[in-house]
């Protein structure tokens, strides 16, 4: 038997280096990731639509506003998806129409994400007056039926793509603000935020360096769902004739135009409707998948 007590080495001695670092695997989560075919389809479909919208100018398709004299034709080699009531190529109009949908999906969502997250994070972090003001705004926005709000805004302003994007962005803001606020409150309680304060970090730095990344995960999954909603909203507005003004092609406008001859030429409604459905479905499935990965607790 010798000493149980070890001598403390002098301050110069090197701290024992831990065993070689390997990824911490003591508590492996037993989840087996199942392949989500819906989400996989979503990625492919949205990539296709976005690509087509982007490349519309260089694709070998006729001008979307070029009028031929085969009216409401069924699909043929010349017109892969047929023509509409005044003889324009449907495929071309679908592809150019995708530009509107994508501009709305990406432009309006980004804009409302930017504003909504800023409002939500400031409200959630500072609470107090900032929180009260922003909840007032958010609740005010939520109190309007969105479609009525949109029609009011769009009719009051100059019609056009930009107006549409701005109006739709406004509609999306409360969603982002709410989720951002809830997540900011949850993370602001964590000790790493206290630690940052202890280091002397200012609020802006804490918001951007510590909180933003953590809040963005659930926000990005929400963004996909919001995209779906906004695409639908844009369709509804164009359908009602207050979206992008004709002759600019848009899916909602095509639906509206085809509505009059629904019984005789159902394809004029069915084709844009199908594109609509698949796009919205894709965004929603991707959103679900993303939310599943982020974890339930952080959404709304």
């Amino acid at each position: 038997m010798t000493e149980l007590v070890q001598q403390r080495p002098g301050p110069e001695s090197v701290t024992e280096i831990e065993a070689p670092l390997e990824v911490f695997d003591e508590h492996v989560r037993p989840v087996r990731r199942r392949r989500d075919f819906g989400a996989l389809f979503g990625v492919v479909w949205i990539a296709l639509v976005a690509l087509a919208a982007l490349l519309a100018g260089v694709l070998p398709i006729p001008d979307p506003n070029e009028v031929t004299n085969s009216f409401s034709a069924m699909p043929s080699a010349d017109h892969l998806l047929g023509t509409d009531a005044i003889g324009r190529d449907v495929l071309s109009r679908i592809i150019y129409g995708a530009r509107v949908s994508m501009a709305v999906a990406i432009g309006a969502t980004s804009l409302s994400l930017l504003i909504g997250v800023t409002i939500g994070m400031v409200a959630g972090y500072f609470r107090g007056a900032a929180d009260a003001t922003s909840s007032l705004f958010v609740n005010f926005m939520l109190a309007f039926p969105p479609l009525i709000f949109l029609i009011a805004v769009v009719t009051a302003l100059q019609p056009g793509l930009l107006t549409l994007v701005v109006a739709l962005a406004l509609v999306g803001i409360p969603n982002f603000a709410r989720v951002a606020r809830a997540n900011t409150i949850a993370f602001a309680d964590r000790e790493f935020v206290t630690a940052a304060k202890a280091l002397g970090a200012r609020p802006l730095r804490i918001l951007t360096r510590e909180l933003l990344v953590n809040v963005m995960l659930p926000i990005l999954s929400l963004a996909l769902v919001v995209m779906a909603t906004l695409v639908v909203a844009e369709g509804s507005l164009s359908f009602l004739g207050v979206g992008v003004p004709p002759p600019t092609p848009s899916w909602g406008g095509m639906l509206a135009a085809g509505r009059e001859s629904l019984s005789e030429e159902p394809q004029l409604v069915l084709v844009p409707a199908l594109f609509f459905f698949l796009t919205v479905f894709s965004f929603n499935r991707l959103g679900d998948w993303a939310r599943g990965r982020v974890g339930r607790e952080s959404s709304i």
Partner: protein, 373 residues
């Protein structure tokens, strides 16, 4: 504390209880988990015996498999667990694997019962304490409402809850952590189980409350004669309160002995290291602690060799190539250890001296000169 490892003395303990039959027998228990990274060998060949009315302490670091072992005995393993062939758990002579899953409910509470670390996991937050107790009592013991209530109040008083009639109608969140743990203990003993498994029952509690709860468990056991398994990572908790101790490391039992013997004739270097790492109240302040270098090994497809070799100050070449099995020590039938170079034996002393002189073990770990011989 005099827990030094005595030289290889011949104080063969008179094993008067040796003949008595084991109440719980675990034989070659292997529980593996299928994960994306491979098979996690959480429990990998455990043998245990526990006699009627006795308390077995199970100690080991986090991840050593203590909870999986107790869940395997309780038959409440996670769905991805695989109990390998050849594993056997017998309770009072009955092989638990043969118990029809439908009858498990009658096993729980009546034969086997468990207290968890976090009392909230075994209490339903939306049901009053009294209702949870009476429901269990009525299900298992077939009592009418009035009798169940009387029995529940008696149990609450038994576990030291003041004003049990008042507490009866409270919800778990209205109680302090210590009180909640008392309620879970009341639930666990409500049907007079023959074996109580307490999985870290006091880890979440303060020292003063821990002391009360451990004393309560001891008193309940003394009056009911049940057997008990007390799981903890704190050797201090089991030292004064168990008859036998099993030390687990990386899914295996590496040393098992009657409590007093374990502390006086420690054979396994890991047990020694575990004790040395604890700060002691009777050491002067600023005493440097003998920490165990590194951390527990991965238990996904472990390589051959002793699982403690990378951290063991006695490790020799043999330890990195062969896996030691749990064998009885020659001087006591009830003391076994899984080590090629046990402490307090001539070969163990030689091995450790050699490493100290070389300054490094066969596994390449530096040995500080202050390490206990």
């Amino acid at each position: 504390m005099s827990t030094g490892t005595e030289p290889y003395v011949d104080d063969v303990v008179v094993d008067d209880a040796g003949q008595q039959e084991s109440f719980l027998e675990v034989e070659n228990l292997r529980v593996w988990f299928g994960t994306p990274r491979g098979m996690v060998r959480a429990v990998d060949g455990v043998d245990l015996q526990l006699r009627k009315g006795e308390t077995l302490g199970v100690v080991g670091e986090s991840g050593s498999g203590k909870s999986v072992l107790s869940r395997a005995i309780m038959k409440i393993l996670a769905p991805n667990a695989r109990v390998l062939d050849g594993s056997r758990i017998r309770l009072d002579g009955v092989d638990l694997a043969t118990v029809n899953p439908k009858k498990n409910r009658h096993l729980w509470g009546v034969d086997l019962s468990m207290v968890f670390q976090d009392p909230m996991t075994s209490l339903t937050p939306v049901i009053t304490v009294g209702k949870q107790l009476t429901e269990t009592l009525r299900y298992h013991l077939d009592l009418d409402a009035k009798a169940a209530r009387a029995e529940a109040v008696r149990l609450l008083r038994l576990v030291g809850i003041p004003e049990p009639e008042k507490r009866f109608d409270q919800y778990p969140h209205e109680l302090s952590g210590g009180m909640r743990q008392r309620v879970t203990i009341a639930l666990a003993i409500s049907c007079s189980p023959k074996l109580l498994i307490a999985d870290e029952p006091t880890t979440a509690l303060d020292v003063t409350v821990q002391h009360q709860i451990l004393n309560l468990l001891r008193d309940l056991q003394a009056s009911s004669g049940m057997s008990m398994i007390l799981i903890t990572h704190d050797l201090g908790v089991v030292a004064g309160r168990t008859d036998n101790i099993a030390v687990m490391y990386a899914g295996r039992v590496v040393e098992m002995a009657p409590t007093r013997r374990l502390f006086s004739h420690m054979r396994h270097p890991y047990t020694r290291a575990l004790i040395d790492a604890i700060p002691k109240l009777d050491h002067p302040s600023h005493t440097r602690l003998a920490s165990i270098p590194g951390r527990p090994p991965t238990i996904v497809d472990p390589p051959p060799g002793c699982s403690f070799a990378a951290r063991c100050p006695s490790a020799q070449d043999r330890c990195t190539k062969e896996t030691p099995t749990l064998v009885t020590t020659p001087d006591s039938e009830r003391h076994s250890a899984a080590c090629f170079f046990p402490l307090g034996t001539p070969e163990g002393d030689v091995a450790r001296r050699r490493n100290i002189e070389a300054g490094v073990t066969a596994a390449g770990t530096p040995v500080l000169s202050g390490v206990t011989v």
